[in-house]
Amino acid sequence: MGQIEWAMWANEQALASGLILITGGIVATAGRFTQWYFGAYSIVAGVFVCLLEYPRGKRKKGSTMERWGQKYMTAVVKLFGPFTRNYYVRAVLHLLLSVPAGFLLATILGTACLAIASGIYLLFCFSEWNVSVLESGRITHVQFLFLFMTYMM
């Protein structure tokens, strides 16, 4: 089990959650539910998540199947540098994006799915961290911060 690359699955999940958010948002705004502006937010968030997650990340070993036309999106995503490259940031970003959609019934499923995707990204980060600590014997300052926080708790 330890050799599973969770990031690929999290990527598929996040893409699907983006689509669910868009659908829920359309239902909410079209049906003019109370607080329908959450629906509008959900459409925007869904589109953003879909565009961010469209390029499939490179696997650690083995070949990666690229999605059709992903190179155009990759050029845009790369502009943001470490914010989009780092999976920790992505996990936290997805978690934050999913919260406002949870207030409306139509988009609550989108929240749940995006939160699960964020959880799987975190799982990947922790499994990566374990591997890298074991391999190199050194830890970076981000990892040190996490260790410190868990120790305090």
Binding site: I4, W9, F33, M65, A112, I116
Partner: protein, 553 residues
């Protein structure tokens, strides 16, 4: 699709019979019921292609004489995937429609017919409806389970990380349990006392204004033609004082149809899994382990009451290597009446096969082909499940067959060749074209002996055209001949470079005019696509090529 349309039609007519239901929710109800009926059908059908033992039995039994029907069984995985995609799409429709329904239930709470409401009071927060009722909660859980299953079932994940796909797909059982609970909520009701309280009747202890408003509402919102037996609104306003209610309406929940739909296939699938578990509980006895060049290992074993047809495959499970993983391998040698030994050839690629090889062949002797006598025979326990059917079984049922193998893909054809070596007369096959493409010359040694024996046998029996062997070595650097004097027959049939498929097809068509040739391919996807395309092309000799496609993950 058809079930959705017919159900939509029937729902519209039932809805128009029960006025109070209509006033609470209109389009949302129709859409959710229609998509539910599609989901019923698909959830029941999706389990059937996964009953692999049953399909293998159907493939081999005399009850399925037509080749076309057997070829349908080849498409079982594609059918399963189609049902899965349909479930995904219609679940989306169903959830969207129910979200609209939940809102309508709370906003249009009907005080007249309290039993029919799903909400407990007017303007109840729809989110509470979703999470505190049984159908709502089970529905949300089902969507989450479906989400996990579907995101892990994409082609990219199956190809790269089969484990994620396998472990999440086993959540289907949770999904079915939630589904049986989901429909037991009893939300949809029908009226039981239609004769004593017909729709639109006047109740004596109510004011007449309440009932008079109904026909206007009815004529405003319904423009479709009414079903027979129901009076038009013009007539109705004239006869509004005729019907008098004897008693209050009584409602009873509809019997959950879903239970009827899914119980059959679910029981069948569970029975099959139980049968497979009992059958595979006894370990096999490993007779010998042989190491072949190019990272291939052959295992020969025996098991009581094991019968298999050539072309079938088994799955190996070795708890000492991995407690949960099963890996499929085609049988290269099937048990016959005289010999109960059967065997598989495994190519060592990936961590499971590497660990398996290290357990069976100690690392010191892996390079040499001859195993030392003093090696202890402490083989690990090995369990097999199967045999399961595959399209390659059909190659013996064509008069002429073309079998193309790429590398280790020769294994299904090896069992066919072994069977022909045993006895070729009982089968319909009269000519076999066998083409084997490999990158490395040493790979041919896996079955060089078998091919030579077969070739000699047919020459002895004066049927030299029965098997036509062509070997191709696709990489041109290195040794270009199989070492050994007895392999002279094979060396004269060895070509360097890739085969030229169009010429081959033309040649086979010319020598087998007007016949149907079965084409079988076990190798890389690109090879399979090329052959499929060529098989579908017409030729001037009237020969039909039927391509039998095997689907791997």
């Amino acid at each position: 699709m058809l079930s959705a349309v017919t159900d939509l039609g029937s729902i519209e007519s039932t809805v128009s019979k029960n006025l109070p239901v209509v006033s609470i929710h209109q389009l949302g109800l129709c859409l959710s019921r229609a998509s539910a009926s599609v989901l019923n059908l698909n959830c029941s059908l999706i389990l059937l292609p996964m009953c692999r033992t049953l399909l293998a039995y159907l493939r081999g039994s005399q009850k399925v004489p037509s080749r076309r029907t057997r070829r349908l069984l080849d498409k079982s995985r594609t059918f399963h995937i189609t049902c899965g995609v349909t479930i995904c799409i219609f679940s989306g429709v169903h959830v969207a429609a129910h979200l609209v329904n939940a809102l309508n239930f709370s906003v249009n709470y009907s005080e007249d017919f309290v039993e029919l409401n799903a909400a407990r009071y007017r303007d109840e927060d729809p989110r509470k409806l979703l999470f505190t009722t049984v159908p709502g909660l089970t529905g949300v859980c089902m969507v989450v389970v479906l989400f996990l299953m579907i995101t892990a079932s994409t082609y990219a994940i199956r190809v790269s990380n089969y484990d994620i796909f396998w472990y999440t797909h086993n959540l289907f059982f949770v999904f079915y349990m939630l589904l049986t609970l989901h429909v037991s909520g009893g939300l949809l009701k029908y009226q039981t006392n239609l004769d004593t309280h017909p729709p639109g009747c006047i109740s004596l202890n109510r004011t007449s204004s309440q009932n008079i408003s109904l026909p206007e509402y009815f004529s405003e919102h319904f423009h479709e033609p009414f079903p027979e037996g129901f009076s038009k609104p013009a007539e109705f306003t004239q006869h509004k004082f005729v019907k008098i209610c004897m008693e209050e309406p009584r409602f009873q929940a509809n019997f959950p149809q879903t239970w009827l739909w899914i119980s059959g296939p679910l029981c069948l699938y569970c029975a099959e899994r139980l049968y497979r578990y009992i059958r595979s509980n006894k370990p096999v006895t490993i007779i010998s382990v042989i190491s072949h060049p190019s990272d291939v290992m052959e295992i020969r074993m025996v098991k009581e009451n094991f019968k298999a047809r050539p072309g079938q495959y088994i799955t190996l499970h070795c708890p000492s290597v991995s407690a949960l993983e099963n890996h499929p391998f085609t049988l290269t040698m099937c048990p016959t009446e005289t010999k109960a030994t059967f065997g598989v050839h495994l190519k060592i690629v990936g961590d499971w096969t590497e660990r398996f090889r290290d357990l069976l062949l100690p690392p010191s002797s892996q390079d040499s082909e001859i195993l030392p006598f003093i090696q202890s025979r402490n083989y690990p326990k090995l369990y097999i499940d199967g045999p399961f059917g595959s399209p390659f079984e059909e190659s013996l049922n064509y008069e002429v067959s073309l079998c193309v193998a790429g590398g280790i893909g020769v294994t299904p054809f090896a069992s066919i060749l072994n069977t022909l070596l045993d006895d070729w007369k009982p089968y319909k096959l009269r000519r076999l074209y066998f083409i084997w493409v490999c990158r490395d010359i040493q790979s041919f040694r896996w079955f060089a002996d078998l091919l030579c024996m077969l070739h000699n046998k047919f020459w002895q029996e004066n049927r030299p055209d029965y098997v036509n062997i062509q070997l191709y070595l696709s990489q041109t650097d290195g040794i270009q001949k199989i070492i050994g004097e007895k392999y002279h027959a094979l060396n004269s049939r060895l070509f360097i470079g890739r085969p030229r498929w169009k010429l081959l097809f033309d040649e086979i068509a010319k020598y087998n005019r007007g016949k149907t040739v079965g084409v079988f391919c076990c190798g890389p996807n690109s090879l399979s696509k090329t052959l499929h395309k060529l098989s579908n092309q017409n030729n001037s000799y009237g020969t039909r090529f039927e391509y039998n496609k095997e689907s791997f993950s």
